[in-house]
């Protein structure tokens, strides 16, 4: 399921509004529009954390679920089952039968970082631009979006988020921290549904 079928008339209106505003918008808006149209998503991920403090990277894998506009779920299966649910402002972590709810507003450092992925999935350019300076490269079939925090406090935690994608699919999310640590998440749409 790539794009929901639309009523002809609604599509016409949408196209009209898009054409009228097309001139100052680049491919970024087209990507955002495609992302925004996508209401659900389910992908597999492999994530690696490269941390200086650790001898070797930590690797984990599982699946990522998204329901528009603000429900994001990260189900890690390996090496330890863990469930991470982001719903509104609450982040729920479930691991080993233990459940912990983090109120993201209490962690101003984490929130924008989590928001970067969620706002991208939601195609919410406004939300992204409130926190980050956006840089877009490539074209629709293969694009790359680089986010750099506007806020200096946030920049102490996150140096850069780079999201690679194709049309309305995210392929790769790389988060770089100022101390050189980074994490890399590779995403893949499951072959068969």
């Amino acid at each position: 399921m790539r794009q929901p079928r639309m009523h002809r008339c609604a599509l016409g209106l949408l196209l009209l509004s898009w054409v009228c505003a097309a001139a100052p918008m680049g491919d970024l808006d087209e990507v955002m529009r495609l992302l925004a149209m996508r209401r659900h998503g389910r992908v597999e991920f492999v994530e690696q954390h490269f941390l200086a403090v650790l001898r070797r990277p930590i690797e984990s894998s599982g699946e990522l679920l998204y329901d528009a506009p603000d429900h994001l779920e990260k189900r890690t299966l390996l090496p330890h089952p863990e469930n991470l649910v982001l719903d509104g402002g609450a982040l729920t972590v479930e691991r080993g039968g233990r459940r912990r709810v983090l109120d993201l507003h209490r962690y101003p450092q984490i929130q924008p970082f989590v928001e970067s992925i969620r706002a991208t999935l939601a195609g919410d350019r406004g939300a992204l631009e409130r926190v980050y300076r956006l840089e877009f490269a490539g074209s629709l079939p293969r694009w790359s979006l680089t986010l750099e925090p506007l806020d200096r406090e946030l920049a102490k935690v996150v140096q850069q988020v780079r999201i690679d994608g194709s049309r309305d699919e995210l392929l790769r999310v790389e988060i770089r921290q100022p101390d050189g640590d980074r994490s890399l998440m590779t995403l893949r749409t499951p072959a068969a549904q």
Partner: protein
């Protein structure tokens, strides 16, 4: 004025002056202690402490509506910011992280004393390995961003655990960094006042501070046509302040309106200003003496005594009516054989004694407000009766007479004639029928006849109660209805008890009996617990060895954990944490809210949070505490305990009233010396009380303790009516009947008007008094008139 009269007047003025001095110097209290037991049991004391000064009593819930989310967030920040700097508040929370740095520093520095996971096993090689593995897993989660920098110092993740320990309460929804209602329509702030909830003046002051902060908050709105920002306040203190204002307003307004009505009525009757002024002397003297007596007897006067007392001695207005009307001598007619003092006073005296017996049933009440009302009424009535008997005749100018009201009595007699012509048998049958009907209605309402909930007395409107429920719902866990209270001789005892109670409570979280609980021991463990935790930290060599074994094969290199080794060693040597260490952190307010210091003991409070979608069964909590043998811990459901307390007052008051009724019958038996006369005096009163109670029940009104007081008033006022009719039946004098009737009708009219007015009040307790006494007094007069004059020729009513 004869010398004797002058002496009486002088004595009265001296007495009144002394009473005035006592009144002026008396201590007046307006807090809710009027409703709390004077000699509480240990369990009641806990409840009283909680209601007066507990954390629940000090909450002010603040909601900001209107405008747009941005403006609400801004206002929330501004208000919270301003109130945080205000010493009238011990804590202000709107979801913004404040004092976070200082808090974190305290928690991090003392993590090995604060974390409840610190045991010797956790610092063994296997324990460390599991803990470190857990932390590494955490690094991969978003929270890992925070943990990473702490890892070398805190590889076992105690810091995150402590934060979890303190934040077991589910936080309200948040938007823009501040708390909002789940639908996002309101920004929410929870403030806790420094003063206890029972200090209503301080609460009023705190509320003014919140309003001032709101007024000063910025209100730029992006939408031009948006609704302006609106402030809504709720909470026990807010209610207490509103209730006091409402009762004061209602009591003042109604007293003024009632006095005007009665004064107008009296003036219409007397047509004489001196008579009017003299006529008010008994009630004014009674009121002053009543307050003075309460002040002397109880040490302090409750607000409700002042508010309601005057309505209770309304009977004393009747005394002067009786005096003026009955002592009037028509200038043409022959002087009566007996003076008023000889002819009428004994009847009034008996009526006053009957009232005293009725009100005496309030005196032993455990409800201090009720006991004071009893003392006030008794002393006030006695004073008013004495002033009527001795002072009024002394002050009366010679040749003074009010307008002739006998024609009024004649007209009333004409109206009553058809009823009074009924045969004794018919009257008896009718009375029995009325009584049986009333009893049947009362019986049908049985269990629901009395309202046993304290909220029945609450002057808070349903609308305000709903607002409060909505705000509490928005905030999720702010409702401190259920809690465990642990008593101890010292703070440390209480904290140690709280730790034992926590062990008993933890399994209840897994069993979904409760959702969680707070404990002051999470902020400050007892000295014993601190020593145990410190003792479980291994020495540097052992720790180094254990750590090396633990990290073999793990991603984390033990050589990077040098800071951990030095921190553990520092913790082993550090002095114990004390309450002083909490200074300057927001944790101090959290800690202090959970600790209550009374004269000779400390209480640790562990508020319980309900599991999602499930009310707490406090009995299950009590059983768990008992099974774990923590005798110093007590599970408390504040709402139920308050209701139990009030239900206790109510059944006690009902029993005392029955005893009072019995004493009235004994008194009348002695005074009247005739069972039949006693029946004729008591029957109208009993019928009036039964009919009113049945009428209220029929109108779906649940009876409260104030209705009971109203019934005592019916007996107090009505006994005079019945006794005058009884006297009338005994003594035959020219024009006596019309004078009796006239004086009774005027007295009755003043009572019905005064109390009828209360029925229109917004305050439930006043409505209860009004709707009971106004119809009851009228019925008492009617029943007394009819029952006293049943045809003497029938055997049922033959004179004794």
């Amino acid at each position: 004025m004869t010398p004797q009269r002058a002496q009486i007047a002088a004595l009265w003025i001296v007495c009144l002056a002394v009473a005035c001095i006592v009144v002026a110097r008396a201590r007046y209290i307006t807090d809710l202690s009027a409703f709390l037991p004077a000699k509480p049991t240990a369990a009641q004391q806990l409840l009283v402490d909680q209601l007066r000064d507990g954390p629940a009593s000090r909450l002010i819930l603040i909601a900001i509506d209107g405008a747009d989310p941005g403006a609400r967030t801004q206002a929330s920040s501004a208000i919270a910011g301003r109130l945080r700097g205000d010493s009238r508040f011990s804590s202000v929370n709107n979801g913004e992280p404040v004092t976070a740095e200082r808090d974190r520093q305290f928690l991090f520095e003392h993590r090995y004393l604060l974390s409840d996971r610190i045991t010797a096993a956790r610092f063994s090689a296997t324990g460390l390995r599991a803990a470190i593995q857990d932390t590494i897993d955490d690094l991969a989660s978003p929270a890992g961003l925070l943990l990473k920098s702490l890892l070398p110092q805190d590889p076992t993740g105690e810091m995150m655990h402590i934060i979890d320990q303190l934040e077991r309460t589910p936080a309200p929804a948040a938007s823009g960094g501040v708390w909002v209602s789940p639908d996002g329509a309101r920004a929410l702030i929870v403030a806790q006042t420094a003063a206890g909830g029972s200090d209503i003046d301080a609460q009023a002051d705190a509320i003014r501070a919140v309003r001032a902060a709101f007024a000063a908050a910025p209100r730029e709105s992006s939408a031009a046509d948006a609704r302006p920002l609106q402030l809504t306040l709720s909470g026990p203190g807010v209610f207490a302040v509103a209730a006091r204002a409402k009762i004061e307003r209602a009591a003042v307004r109604l007293s003024i309106a009632g006095s005007l009505l009665v004064v107008t009525l009296l003036f219409a009757v007397y047509r004489s200003l001196p008579a009017l002024a003299l006529g008010l002397l008994p009630v004014v003297s009674g009121a002053i003496v009543g307050i003075a007596a309460v002040a002397l007897g109880f040490g302090a006067v409750h607000g409700i005594t002042l508010g309601f007392g005057i309505t209770l001695i309304g009977e004393s207005v009747d005394y002067s009516i009786y005096f003026f009307v009955q002592s009037r001598r028509s200038p043409q007619g022959p002087a009566p054989a007996l003076s008023w003092q000889q002819a009428w006073w004994p009847t009034i005296r008996l009526g006053a004694l009957t009232s005293v017996c009725g009100f005496a049933s309030l005196l032993p009440s455990g409800f201090p407000g009720l006991a004071q009302l009893g003392a006030y009424s008794i002393s006030g009535l006695v004073a008013a009766a004495l002033v009527t008997r001795y002072v009024l005749p002394a002050l009366l100018p010679s040749g003074f007479a009010i307008r002739d009201v006998a024609p009024l009595g004649v007209r009333v007699a004409a109206v009553l004639r058809p009823f009074r012509r009924l045969s004794g048998r018919k009257v008896a049958a009718l009375s029995v029928a009325v009584a049986l009907t009333a009893l049947a209605i009362l019986h049908r309402h049985g269990a629901t006849l009395w309202n046993r909930e304290l909220s029945a007395l609450s002057p808070i409107s349903i609308e305000d109660q709903n607002t409060d429920a909505r705000l509490r719902g928005d905030l999720g866990a702010a409702d401190v209805r259920n809690l465990v209270v642990v008593a101890g001789a010292t703070l440390d005892d209480a904290l140690a008890g709280a730790e034992r109670a926590a062990q008993a409570l933890s399994p209840l979280i897994d069993a979904q009996v409760i959702g969680g609980f707070d404990s002051p021991a999470n902020y400050l463990p007892s000295a014993g617990m601190q020593a145990a935790r410190r003792g479980s930290l291994p020495d540097p060599t052992t720790l180094r060895d254990n750590l090396r074994q633990a990290t073999t094969g793990l991603e984390l290199d033990a050589t990077r954990l040098q800071p951990f080794l030095s921190d553990v060693e520092a913790a082993r040597r550090a002095p114990p944490v004390t309450a002083r260490d909490l200074e300057g952190t927001s944790l101090r307010a959290g800690f202090e809210a959970l600790v209550l210091h009374q004269k000779d003991r400390w209480n640790a409070l562990l508020p319980l949070h309900p599991a999602v979608g499930k009310a707490i069964d406090i009995a299950q909590v009590a059983v768990a505490l008992q099974a774990a043998r923590v005798p110093e811990a007590r599970a408390l459901d504040l709402e139920r305990e308050s209701d139990d307390l009030y239900a206790g007052y109510l059944s006690e008051a009902i029993h005392f009233s029955l005893a009072g009724t019995l004493s009235i019958i004994v008194l009348l038996s002695i005074a009247l010396r005739s069972p039949l006369r006693v029946v004729k005096v008591v029957a109208p009163l009993a019928l009036a009380v039964l009919t009113v109670a049945a009428g209220l029940a029929f109108c779906a009104v649940q009876l409260t303790i104030l209705h009971l007081v109203g019934m005592l008033l019916i007996v107090a006022v009505g006994s005079n009516y019945a006794l005058f009719f009884d006297r009338e039946a005994q003594v035959h004098e020219a024009g006596g009947e019309s004078l009796t009737l006239a004086s009774l009708v005027i007295a009755n009219l003043s009572t019905v008007m005064g109390f009828g007015l209360l029925s229109f009040s917004q305050v439930p307790v006043l409505v209860a008094l009004g709707t009971t006494v106004a119809p009851g007094a009228f019925l008492a007069l009617l029943f007394a008139a009819v029952l006293s004059r049943a045809d003497p020729s029938t055997p049922a009513t033959s004179r004794a």
